[in-house]
Amino acid sequence: MMKNIISKAISLKLKFLTLAVSLVLLPMACTDLEEEVFSEVTESSFTPSESDIISVMASAYTPMRFVMGWQGYFDLQEEPADMFVTPTRPNGWDDGGTYKRMHFHEWTETQWQPRNTWITCFNGINSANRVILQIELGELPVSETQAASIIAEMRALRALYYSMLVDTHGNVPIIASYSDELPVQNTRTEVYDFIVSELTEVIPNLSETVDQSTYGRMTKWAAYHVLARVYLNAEVYTGTPQWEKVIEACDEIIGSGAFELSSSYSDIFRTENEGNSEMVFAIPYDQIFAGQWSAHMKMLLPDHRLVFGMQAQPWGGSSCNPQFIDSYDPNDNRLEDTWLMGDQLNASDGSVVMTLRKEMPSIFNCDFTDGFRCGKYEIEPGATGGLSVDFPFLRYTDVLMMKAEALLRTNRSNEAAVIVTQVRQRSFDDPADATVTGAELEGDTTVQYGTLAEDGTIDQPGDQSVVPYGRFLDELGWEFAAEARRRTDLIRFGVYQTKNWYNHTPQGDHTILFPIGLEERNTNTNLEQNPGYPQ
């Protein structure tokens, strides 16, 4: 009897228990902790289709857009050179002293512009290696010939990134595969050799087509152009000049007939410049799809919004060192094509919004309107913080000028002068003004080097020795002003590490390389600091 009651009670309790347990636990999964993924794809579950091939390759190209981006390659190449200065202005621009350090060549291992270049170039290299690995592993649905041409293109692109790194940081790790290994440092010469051998090897497999399908891509001609650039600076990189090889590589491009000089200088820098006959390798930007071009925001004044009818209000920092402006031939149209000077007119009613003056008293203290601004790249009405001009990273004029420089430096100055005259002609109303002679090109620079006092006079002349082929350096300056290359040219002509300009005095030969970033050395114990910097 008692037993019966107890067992009944137990069974009743068990029923309640079952009820309670199942009510509570029904909606629960057991102990499964697998992650459910919704708005991305996991690598293990993803099979790329044919249309994904270009998307995968794209990741190796898009880093190039840092060139005209915030504290990007443009800043790296122009801020330490003699053309651009970003002084303190009423609305700031001290920015922790970053621009002064660039101007004074007093950067440290935490300086952002060189770090950005390192990070971005290796990002591109890493992505290129990733594509190559995916092809080698058969993860992408491509045919054998397609595979060969994609691998060649990626290797050429990788060499392009290395051509920037060999110039800026020199002793960087050569990473030729996508692996888990901690990269090991190489010497500048090894990096140079790697670029040369890679490009030489892949050129036969690269596309020769120059049309919309290869616009912004590494073609055979872009590869030759990079090769020529590296040869042009070979003496700086390795100690051994390679002038003949410069000419050979340039002649390949010239001989292709695929390019010609743009009849109008300013056409090269228009919003609609895709398809310009000069473009060997362009970096396409678009204010909607690829809005990283912010260099114009750093250079224009807030009130240029009214001058160009922009949507965005620029920030107004960088302007041109008056010494460089003074070097122009007044008849050279590139002065007006490149710089915004004097009265700036309101786009809607023509009234004077402000007047820009050439003088810039000091990097520590300038007014808003001190210094001419770069107006070379077209600002369309309605322009935003991201410009739509495609950046002419490698353009045909550069091919001609590289050949001219190699000729000039190998005692063929008159041949060089023919080319330079040809380039100048589109920028002078009177063809006679465009003509230069070989002797002129061999002569000294027309830039009056020396540091400037607040009143604009030279107070410390510094090294006043003749710059060999200095006039040719001036030609490069006028033609390629604000094209993110002045630093490289100044180094090759020996000006960078010897001359005074604006508020700058030389800081030693070690400054031709930037220090390797603190964070980069922090995370990779294999990296030794470049010579001349605290280890």
């Binding site: 309670a20 690598e43 990741s59 700031g92 350090r101 440290t108 888990d180 399908s213 209000q313």
Partner: protein, 997 residues
Amino acid sequence: MKLASFLFKECLGTNRFKKLMLFSMFSLFMAQAGLSQQRVSGTVTDEQGIPIAGAAVLEKNTTNGTATDFDGNFEITTTGSNPVLVFSYLGFVAQEIPVQGGTVNVQLKEDLQQLSEVVVIGYGTQKRADVTSSVATVKSEDFVQGNVKDAAQLIQGKVAGLSVSAPSGDPTEGTQINLRGTSSILGGTNPLVLVDGVPGSLNTVAPEDIESIDVLKDGSATAIYGTRGTNGVIIITTKKGTTDMKSTIEYNGYASLSTIADRMNFLNADELRQKFSEGYTFNGANLQDFGASTDWVDEITRDAFSQVHNLIFRGGNATSNMTASLNYRDIEGIFLKSNNERYTARVNVNHAMFDNRLKANVGVILSEQTFNALGDGSSFNPYIYRQAIIRNPTEPVRNEDGSWYERDVYFYDNPVAYIEETIGQNRYRNTRFDFSLSYDFGDHVTVKGLYTRKGNSNIRGFYQTKDHVSTTKNGQGGFASRGTDDYVGNYGQFTVDYDNNFGDHKVTGLVGYNYEDNTNEGFWATNRRFPTDGFTYNNLGSGQGLQLGEAGMGSYKNSDKLIAFFSRVTYNYDDRYLLMASLRREGSSRFGEDYKWGNFPGISVGWRVDQESFADNWDWLSNLKLRSGFGVTGINAGSNYQSLSGLTYGDYFLNNGEWVRQLVPSRNANPNLRWEKKEEFNLGLDFGVLDGRINGSVDYYNRTTKDALFNYSVPTPPYFYGNIAANVAEIKNTGLEFLLNITPFQTENFEWTANLTYSTNTNEIVSLSNDEFQLTNDFFDEGYTGEPIQISTHRVQEGQPIGNFFGLKSVDITDDGIWIIERPDGTRVPATEATNDDRQVLGNGLPKAYYSWNNTVRYKNWDLMFNLRGALDYQILNFSRMFYENPTISYNTLDSAYDLVYGKAVLQDVQRYVSHYVEDGDFLKIDNVTLGYTLPKDAIKFAQTFRIYASGLNLATFSKYKGIDPEVNRNGLAPGNDERDKYPSIRTFTLGINFTF
């Protein structure tokens, strides 16, 4: 169902469990079989002889019990052979009286130490006397009164070691909480908040609806909540109906007036004109006198009025009870359009059946929150406030034709126009459904299951009109944005409780299972170029921005899961020796395949010295307990999928004339991602003397966080991105906490109780690397000044505390007004020559000690509460001075910009981050003063209680700090930065009434 059967096998199928149940059945049977019966009656009163209604009368070691009626009378029939009656009532010391029938009149003593109070611990409760870990309890009568932001502000300054601050005056922003220092880098300092046992937030229920808040502080206490126990656990218990409760309606209501706590002194129009006449010239904003006199901060601020109403219905009979509450709060912020309106409703019904063995609970919490949005999706837009402080005071608000007065200056817009031409609203709806069942198998075993379904959703709308600068300056033609987010979560737990006494041995046990999942999803869209302002954000498709490629949209969805098994035993020998041990095994979906599960043990012991026989003669001693504990808790990864290799379509690339998206890895996946674990040792002492008139506790803690999660910098290549979520750091926190409760006066008409807390914290980053991830240097920089100074503010370095300011040390000024910097080697250079290598530690943003002094004075029907609170030994980087105490800038400046620096020269340097702006933050606040009057019992017939009160919050601050409020952000790796456009803190005055009928 898989798990249900699994649990059956694991828990119910074992022989041990069957034995337990049989045992419990047997003892129940024995109890009911009874030996002799005696009738006992009497009255229970307090020390003043006032009858106590609802006091529990229980025959010891039985379930036989009753409660006193409204006049304190009881009657019980005892069943044992030597019956002992236990009389207890919340807030009084329980008394045990052996009886042999007849009449027993009992006078209960007020329990000043609350030893008998029930403390809520993880998945259960414990008597205060039995607690062996560090747990603080604050009851509603001790809460901070007035217009509080959230539940945390109710206990501000009441718990030693728990710092609660309200650095923002934004009515939609909550408080900042920090318990025992910063123990995690990525995990933040937010504690786990449980609302009636289920994870929630400090806003799940209205502050007026809360009965008590328990804070589990040390690791041995929180280990049972393994997952998120590191920053402590705040357990919120809501007001509830109880068995046999008279039906009541309780109303709490108040109206508040808030003002800006303090203003920064910028040049007003007269002062600026004075500067012009002194020959000062300026660029940008203060270029010239524009003829008007405008106080821009006045133009965008107001005296803010708020009202809060709270109604609670409660009642119950022998088997059922219910609570229903409705809360409405309409809070205005001090800035125009800044507000927060919220409705919260809660219904909770309990039902007991089968002799009170089966208990069921159904609960619903619903809330709706609406506020104006001046930022896209956010209440406050700091840019607007910044514009008001930096604007030229001689500019008018409007042109003569009524249009907004605007000028073309860099980052310079009319703040009034910005507010008036912005229309935005966010609305949130939160739901929570609770259901639980428990079954009591007699005296010893209770089984409980609980399921909660939670949901939050919101919809946002934002529009900038064609008269907004987004169009008048930037040509957008009107800008609209809409967005919505949705959250759904399931939470379930199943527990088996065991509870038994064997003579002097008391044992409890608990095993349980816990499941939680969370799913978040949402989408948003923006558009421009609208034909009219009339639609505001309600007709997104009518804008042409979409066709022009200027529209934006996005959507997302993600989910995560947490699953845990846990157990706990407590053991009490003769009320002298106490032990608690727990173990939780928890898994998180966010960790790497092989590292999902972690074990979190906790153990604590206690020794009640005063219960020893040798202490029998120490009459002055009423309580002395030594406690010690050790526990391990964890921090979950901050976001989902970090251990998974994912791919995403990113930036565009021009391919053959068309823009296509690139396909890139979503992140650096870390398949070794695992639990961040904190080990904590706690040593404590509870004491009470003179009948508890003086009581308190002292705690020492030492917590070490290992495998701390951090977004670690890694080299690229081989990594794709520059950082990876990894378990790299080790952080140590040690500290002391003192709590002292004193009752200096206690008479029938006058009582004064004081509560003092003091806590210290020392923090050290022990390591920033592990075997896998190494730093060449042992530091990295954090914090950011923003433009135009653009430099980091803090350094995080091994061997140093978190929160070190790192910058140039200014010691003097040149005659030209340029800072003179002292380098680390002691040499001095002008700031123009100083480099980044000349930076050094300038102070630390985290207080080394907090203190508070809370007083409650009751005189007859009057009550007065005043709370003082402060923090010691820390620094603040005053951004306002760093940016605006400088006459060379192109915006309006602080008056002090023209003072001589170091008594020598007016500053002529650029804006710089130098030690001159790193100020001591030490402060004392008169934080909350409340004066209340309770009407005599018979004054209003229908009301049981009626109290009116007036209170003030954030009344006065004593500090050398020159900014608005020394209570600034203390979270993260850059604490102590007083941002220049932070929503200023507020001072609030409140008038309120409470009544129950």
